[in-house]
Amino acid sequence: MNRFLDSDVFYAFRTSPVAIVSLIVTVLMVLAAVFAPLIATTNPFDPASLNLMNGFTAPMEPNAFTGESFFLGTDDQGRDVFSTILYGLRISLFVGVAAVMLAMVIGIFLGLLSGYVGGWTETIIMRAADVQLTFPSILVAMLIFGVAKGVTPVEYRDQMAIWVLILAIGLSDWVQFARVVRGATLVEKSKDYVAAARLIGRSPLTIMIRHILPNVLSPVLVIATISLALAIIAEATLSFLGVGAPATQPSLGTLIRIGQGFLFSGEWWILLFPACTLLVLALAVNLLGDWLRDALNPRLR
């Protein structure tokens, strides 16, 4: 721990207001998402707690019929916007984090394997990566989503949507990790500490996990952070396009899709607040990733 507190990375963090603020914002949003049921004033998905009469209440103004007031207003069905955002954030973050984890696990595994083993293994993995990279990840995610939708029976589609999203975004994003890890592995593999471990007689698996993996983690961390922002945006985009989280389990993207319909009729808050939440979240994570990349790559300073 002391080693960390004294490190250059921590020093760079301490002296960067942008990094501190974006970390705080990110942590607050994660906490808000995790404890959404405790913070939210109502459960927006419990029909019992909804009152259609409360529909379209503007923020901080009492409703014309019921007299109830809502911090960020309500949507067409009288759901409290603040609460829907908290629950939406929960789904957005969950999908984002899970998708990045999936991509990371696949990417690290295949990247290490192709970098260390080489030969045909490498050729096959990296050709596959090249082919996939030819297509933008959002398109790959859409295709996976479309196919998955095709093979799931209609009655399960809404339930499965979240998992399909994670799978789609995760599978569309592994290439980044694999390429970075492979590149770093090739560099590390040629270093003499790996030769020393081979000379001791360590097995390839041990060398990959104990020696190489810890040394390729810092670029992975950077990619993971940036990927998280991208995954959150990808999820929002898919949901906005109507090929993501369903209305029964709305993510921030779904909320924006719903809100878009009311923008032109004057109920701006239904769109604006989810959109701002999404922007702030993506920005904070992006800033963090950007800062991490500079901090972990001393040559840039």
Binding site: D8, Y11, Y193, A196, R198, L199, H211
Partner: protein, 571 residues
């Protein structure tokens, strides 16, 4: 005596850092006269390159000149603005960098880069500039300059590229050239040619040269005047013969003494004692528990027969279309029990490849390796494991041979853990003992590699190599990345390993004086082939092959060393 072209007075460079103001150069003063070569020598971190960068106005921010003056041809230049400095740069002062492979823009032809520079400084028409460029290429002895003019940098070899860099530096007819380690990245034979060229051009064009180097041999061969730097300060300066022949400062004395000599074999390497750099080590204490019962039956520990290694040069799907590069070609030698066997050669001669094949890091393409009567090349996994326990390796680059994410304790313990040689409880004390014996403080155990200097890291490598009590140690250029003072300590440890523990060693080096000091017998390699094998003294005194003779001739020497000094060193 002529007026100096360049005068540096009391120059101080400072870098503001997180932990306070750091002054890599403090109060440095020296002069350069036309046609004179001044060597600036010192170990890494002595501030010698920083001085050169300050002169040419290329300090990387936040480094800045905080005190002192720089005068060029009677004009003060350290206070000029950026634009005026730029005009001087490459005009009156030119620069040559260390690595010729990265100094040239890969996307422009050599000619384009020359013409561009000539036109900038001399304002010639493009056809005039072109003929001048070709003349310059010819002057730096590049064959077929007309043809070479249109080629790209990647079509030139390292030495040729450094010649192009020199030609580029000469474009503007400068009065001073700053050459920062211009030959460090080159082989000995090419180094000699490039240094000769610099010497010749300095005389011919009356250019003052600042030659920054860490190599005393280069200083002795090339320079007229020498400035010795230590931790940012000038400790001593004077003519080359004076500094090398009769140094007055303690640091200079020990630095010169520490340079390995090819003339005579000493029992120990003289160490640089100045500045408290010496660290004690106690290899003899390891001898008590060292298992020496396994002397080989025949007296020969390692036998190499017809060893061959080919690398794929051009890949193709059809095997018939592939072309191979033979890195090691039918090499045979044997190493006696307890002997230090040296392999010398220039880069690309295949000496490291031989080492890696012996260490089972590369598969063997042809020939056999026999260790203590057993053929290594045909061993199964279990036999290989037993073999690996008995051999260990010390690598060239101390910064890449230790895993930066593992603690030093874990690094040294890894062979013990893997081979299950000791119980869990015994490993800790054993590792601490090893670290202590190679001269590391007791708190090293919990630290990480980045907290250590190059020399200390090399000690950690040695401790790791000793963990399994090996019989055979492969040293691949173990000190070529280290400063002279550190080199002496590491080599002395290695000498102790042979003397007290009876280790057999394969010692790989391009540095002939070091080989003379270290080895009992030496093999000379060239382009994958073993040219000759001899007793060390015989090789140095009566080389059999022309190639060895050539190498010995090109070897930089400290000729100024008198007989008395050698006698002094012997004692």
């Amino acid at each position: 005596m002529t007026e100096p072209v360049l005068s540096i007075r009391n120059l101080t460079v400072e870098i503001p850092t997180r932990r306070g103001l750091f002054k890599p150069v403090q109060g440095v003063s020296y002069d350069i006269r036309p046609g004179e070569i001044r060597g600036v020598v010192g170990e890494s971190g002595a501030g010698k390159s920083m001085t050169g960068n300050a002169v040419i106005g290329l300090l990387d921010p936040p480094a800045r000149v905080s005190e002192g003056e720089i005068w060029l041809n009677g004009r003060r230049i350290d206070q000029l603005d950026a634009e005026q400095k730029r005009r001087i740069r490459g005009g009156e002062i030119a620069m040559i960098f260390q690595d010729p492979l990265t100094s040239l823009n890969p996307l422009f032809t050599v000619g384009e880069q020359l013409v561009e520079t000539i036109q900038l400084h001399l304002g010639l028409s493009s056809s005039e500039a072109q003929s001048r460029a070709i003349a310059l290429l010819d002057r730096v002895r590049i064959p077929n300059p007309e043809e070479r003019f249109h080629q790209y940098p990647h079509q030139f070899s390292g030495g040729m590229r450094q010649r192009v860099v020199i030609a580029l530096a000469l474009c503007s007819e400068p009065s001073v050239i700053v050459a920062d380690e211009p030959t460090t990245a080159l082989d000995v034979s090419i180094q000699a040619q490039v240094l000769d060229l610099i010497k010749e051009l300095a005389r011919e064009r009356q250019v003052g040269v600042i030659l920054v180097t860490h190599d005393m041999g280069v200083i002795a061969d090339t320079t007229d005047e020498v400035t010795v730097m230590y931790e940012g300060r000038v400790v001593e300066q004077g003519t080359t013969s004076q500094i090398l022949g009769a140094p007055t400062h303690e640091y200079t004395k020990s630095l010169i003494a520490a340079v390995p000599r090819p003339q005579v074999k000493l029992h120990r390497f003289p160490q640089v004692s100045y500045g408290g750099r010496e660290t004690a080590f106690k290899i003899e204490d390891l001898a008590r528990n060292w298992d020496r019962s396994t002397a080989s039956k025949s007296g020969t520990l390692v036998e190499v027969k017809g060893l061959t290694k080919r690398f794929l040069a051009k890949g193709a799907i059809l095997p018939s279309q592939r072309s191979y590069f033979t890195a090691v070609d039918d090499v045979s030698f044997d190493i006696k029990d307890g002997e230090v066997f040296g392999l010398v050669g220039e880069s690309g001669s295949g000496k490291s490849t031989v080492a890696r094949m012996l260490a089972t890091l590369y598969p063997v393409d042809g020939g056999t390796v026999t260790f203590d009567g057993e053929e290594v090349t045909g061993m199964d996994a279990k036999q290989l494991s037993a073999y690996r326990k008995q051999i260990q390796m010390i690598f060239q680059d101390p910064f890449s041979s230790l895993n930066p994410r593992m603690s030093v304790g874990d690094i040294v313990a890894e062979p013990l853990v893997h081979h299950k040689l000791l119980s869990r409880a015994e490993i800790g004390p054993r590792v601490r003992e090893l670290l202590d014996r190679v001269g590391l403080a007791s708190d090293a155990y919990r630290k990480y590699p980045h907290e250590f200097s190059g020399g200390q890291r090399q000690r950690i490598s040695i401790a790791r190599a000793l963990a399994t009590q090996p019989r055979f140690l492969i040293c691949d250029e173990p000190t070529s990345a280290l400063d002279v003072s550190i080199q002496a300590q590491i080599l002395n440890i290695l000498k102790d390993l042979q003397e007290h523990l009876g280790l057999t060693m394969l010692f790989i080096s391009h540095d002939l004086p070091v080989v003379r000091q270290m080895c009992d017998r030496v093999g000379v390699m060239r382009q994958g082939k073993l040219v000759e094998v001899q007793e060390t003294s015989a090789l140095f005194e009566a080389p059999k092959s022309d190639y060895t003779r050539e190498l010995l001739d090109l070897m930089p020497r400290l000729e100024q060393l008198s007989e008395e000094q050698i006698a002094e060193l012997r004692t």
